[in-house]
């Protein structure tokens, strides 16, 4: 059972029911559950969307798109049924927050899904969890069954005329399926290859119908934002970044864990106060601020507030909120290699720059890390990454190229130290996997 952590600076909104047995519907109800859904049902779509807009909630899946606005793009009239899709594929290295939500508060996800459905006029929602989360799928399925029993889901939800069904779906191992259109393909029983956009999901999505897709945390936040009132929720966060966020602190940190902190919370404080500093009192070498696809920040770059805009300004991204702390004993070439190995493994293979680029990068870095690198390799790695950027079919290509560029640019010296057959200065785990 994953350990829950706590810190006084936390503002517990989404995590407020964690550890309280809210996976059981009675407990959830006691803790105020399903009140927002009832209210949403009474107030109607326009009210919901306005509140969501006021909440300043931005998507927690990575891109930070304003949720209220996303919902408002769905056409009112549609010949095909509309759908709500909850993205619980959570596979970005450094990220495990949705894991806790499904474990401790599955009804919040269900309630959020109902509300999203009411907002766009959908009659069906899907909660898609990565296949590895089998035990969580069972928890969510149980919660869905409870909601059906209570009449919160089904032909007439909460005794109204409104119908809403929820289906829990399992993945089977594929990071790329977290990409919204690839997720739809997967849900339709196909390979997880993204779709051509436009048309965007809000217009043509799942089964060809207008679809809203949101991250599980985004959806779990919705009932809270409505309960608090959009404006009150927004006030918790920073400018244009409403509310709180679940930050996952991992790596060389003294007190790893998932902390709910207001948007804009200082990264330095997050590491040194909330997380208790670098493990074993070591020196900080770098931080990956938002999951493995976000470029690393150096120790001198951590005096920023953790919200989409400020991290963006610092040249990285807030991404999935997975903060990976790296100490001074870490080989950055190895770290870069492990990162790219992931993207190489997860590239769907559809487009040339990503498929070939990630493979080439992995091979070069593998050889390089094993001590067989040349001066030219460093330039080549940079050249390949630069030529993947912005050229791929979906953002996975960028997700691989961006951190690579960060490593090469910010740690070029460390790359150079690996040259001329010199052993890795850190001699950690040289993966000699030469082909």
């Amino acid at each position: 059972m994953p350990r829950l952590v706590s810190h006084p600076d936390e503002v517990k909104i989404v995590t407020s029911r964690f550890g309280k047995g809210a996976a059981k519907i009675d407990t959830y109800l006691e803790l105020g559950g399903y009140a927002s859904a009832r209210k949403a049902l009474a107030e109607g779509a326009e009210w919901i969307i306005n509140e969501m807009k006021a909440s300043g909630l931005r998507g927690r899946g990575g891109a930070g798109f304003p949720t209220g606005m996303k919902w408002s793009f769905v056409p009112k009239q549609s010949a095909k049924p509309k759908y709500v899709l909850v993205n619980g594929d959570e596979s970005e290295p450094g990220t495990c927050k949705d894991h806790l939500i499904f474990l401790h508060d599955p009804h919040a996800v269900i309630e959020g899904t109902i509300i999203a459905g009411l907002a766009i006029g959908a009659k069906m929602g899907f909660i898609y969890l990565r296949g590895e989360y089998r035990y969580l799928i069972q928890i969510v399925e149980r919660a869905v069954a409870e909601a059906y029993e209570r009449g919160f889901l089904g032909k007439s939800i909460f005794g109204s005329e409104t119908e809403f069904e929820v289906i829990v779906q399992t993945g089977a191992g594929a990071y790329e399926v977290g990409e919204e259109s690839a997720l739809m393909e997967s849900l339709e029983g196909k390979r997880g290859v993204p779709r051509i956009k436009p048309p965007f999901p809000a217009v043509v999505g799942l089964y060809g119908g207008p679809t809203v897709i949101n991250n599980a945390e985004t959806i779990a936040t919705v009932p809270h934002a409505l309960a608090m009132g959009g404006a009150a929720y927004a006030a918790v966060g920073s400018e244009r970044n409403g509310g709180t966020r679940l930050f996952g602190l991992s790596g060389h940190i003294e007190r790893p864990g998932v902390y709910e902190l207001p948007m804009g919370y200082s990264l330095r404080k997050m590491i040194y106060e909330v997380g208790g500093g670098v493990r074993g009192g070591r020196k900080l070498k770098a931080v990956v601020p938002g999951g493995s696809s976000t470029p690393v920040l150096l120790p001198e770059e951590i005096d920023i507030g953790m919200d989409f805009d400020q991290v963006g300004k610092a040249g990285s991204m807030l991404g999935s909120g997975g903060v990976v702390v790296i100490d001074d004993q870490t080989c950055m070439v190895e770290f870069a290699l492990r990162t790219i190995k992931f993207y190489q493994h997860e590239s769907c293979g559809w487009c040339i720059p990503c498929r070939e680029g990630t493979d080439w990068l992995k091979k070069s870095l593998t050889r390089f890390h094993a001590g067989f690198g040349t001066e030219k390799d460093i330039d080549n790695i940079q050249y390949i990454a630069e030529n993947m950027m912005g050229r791929t079919f979906c953002p996975l290509g960028d997700a691989a190229a961006m951190p690579t560029l960060g490593f090469v640019k910010k740690f070029r010296k460390e790359f150079e130290e690996h040259l001329h057959g010199k052993p890795c200065p850190y001699a950690h785990h040289p993966e000699v996997e030469l082909v």
Partner: protein, 168 residues
Amino acid sequence: MSAEAMTLFSPELAARLDALVERYPARRSALIPMLLYAQDEVGYLSDAVIDEVARRIGITPLDVRNVATYYSMLRFQPAGKFNVQVCTNISCMLRGGYKIFDRFQERLGIGHKGVTADGLFSLEEVECIGACCWAPAIQVNYDFHDELTEEQVDAILAQYRSQNAGGR
């Protein structure tokens, strides 16, 4: 001949799969869960499993293969009864994921994607399993074990060995 009569699966699974295809706006949406559940029972996706799944969904076996080979949890060869999946991705790596992996290799005498001679264990180095804040983490089949140390490896293996001896 009815599909039920010809099934490779247990009556429970067959019934579950029968219901599964009816659940979605389109039959085909049942494909990925069906493959995973079938694998859970049979151990891997044999040609016969693929053919039956194709028949149940109403698509060609080629189409099933196209999809199945995309997903990394699906396999086409038997794995061990207990499939040990060690995450070595960044958060786990930083906290000794490779050391855990090495210890499993050493204890089981097999490498990545290997299966022990008795068929009890198989080992896999896997990508992030969504337990980064509780690193290093592994999964044995679907069970998570987190905040591991190398020393705990033996205990974990012992746990599954006894589970096996106890007839699950």
